[in-house]
Symmetry: D2
Subunit: 93 residues, 4 copies
Amino acid sequence: MVGYTKAKEDHLRRLRRVEGQVRGLQRMVEQDKYCIDVLTQVSAANRALQSFALELLEQHMTHCVAEAAAKGGAEADAKVQEAAAAIARLVRS
Amino acid sequence: MVGYTKAKEDHLRRLRRVEGQVRGLQRMVEQDKYCIDVLTQVSAANRALQSFALELLEQHMTHCVAEAAAKGGAEADAKVQEAAAAIARLVRS
Amino acid sequence: MVGYTKAKEDHLRRLRRVEGQVRGLQRMVEQDKYCIDVLTQVSAANRALQSFALELLEQHMTHCVAEAAAKGGAEADAKVQEAAAAIARLVRS
Amino acid sequence: MVGYTKAKEDHLRRLRRVEGQVRGLQRMVEQDKYCIDVLTQVSAANRALQSFALELLEQHMTHCVAEAAAKGGAEADAKVQEAAAAIARLVRS
């Protein structure tokens, strides 16, 4: 499916960027860069990971959760609870 | 509905507890309590507010979002996006 | 001390505002306001509590931690570790 | 200095582990793993980055901030404010 492939490419692009940020952090530590600058870069990587997670979550809710809800029953409730638990982990991490 | 009333009572009980924690913080400041102890209490109030938010969100997804999803169409998508935006605000706050 | 009194007044003003937000949340729940609007208000209260905590922490570091550091020794290390633990609780809450 | 070298090695080890987690996330996306499992792994990477940041921050406060505080004056205040701003970015990210 075109839509899924596009989303997947976008996810991989975001994650490669995060990987680049984490490798950049390693170089900063190796070169004894100033702690505060390293911390600023950690905050940026954290925000990038969060943005990825929030996008993935929205797509999951639009597709999996909504489909299960359309069918109704125990499966629907289970999907919502599963998503709610993942959201709680994100909010608390 | 019995279910709703019970959830509502539970929400109010949680929020009254948070109010008590915030008033406790005021007393701590008035009595010049040690900063670190005040900060510990702030973390506790933040966690209590978050737990309330996560519970409310799960109930919203179980009822409103799932009902809209069962009907499908633009309304379903709008509900999911609205919930996703609220989740993003929680994760970033 | 004038400086401390001004900071204390500012802290109490902030906390009273948070208390007002939490009471506002109770009214919203009592009046069955829309979940998403309640969640938006929770995020606002969380941010207000965080801002208060960050201000308190900065003042604590400027006064207590810096004074202990100026004296040096085990007391200085203990103050820094205590502050670091409080920061970790804030970051994770 | 032995102490610094050990801390640096520990930092690099942590960051390499985070890099491994982010590459693991890429594989999960490529293999179309279930969204919820991907989100769980994002939360783990976020927590690992945060732990790294908190450790770095504590060491920065123990060394740079405490040394500046011991000297006192404008430099000491500047270091504390700089650290406080970095903490605020972490708390809000």
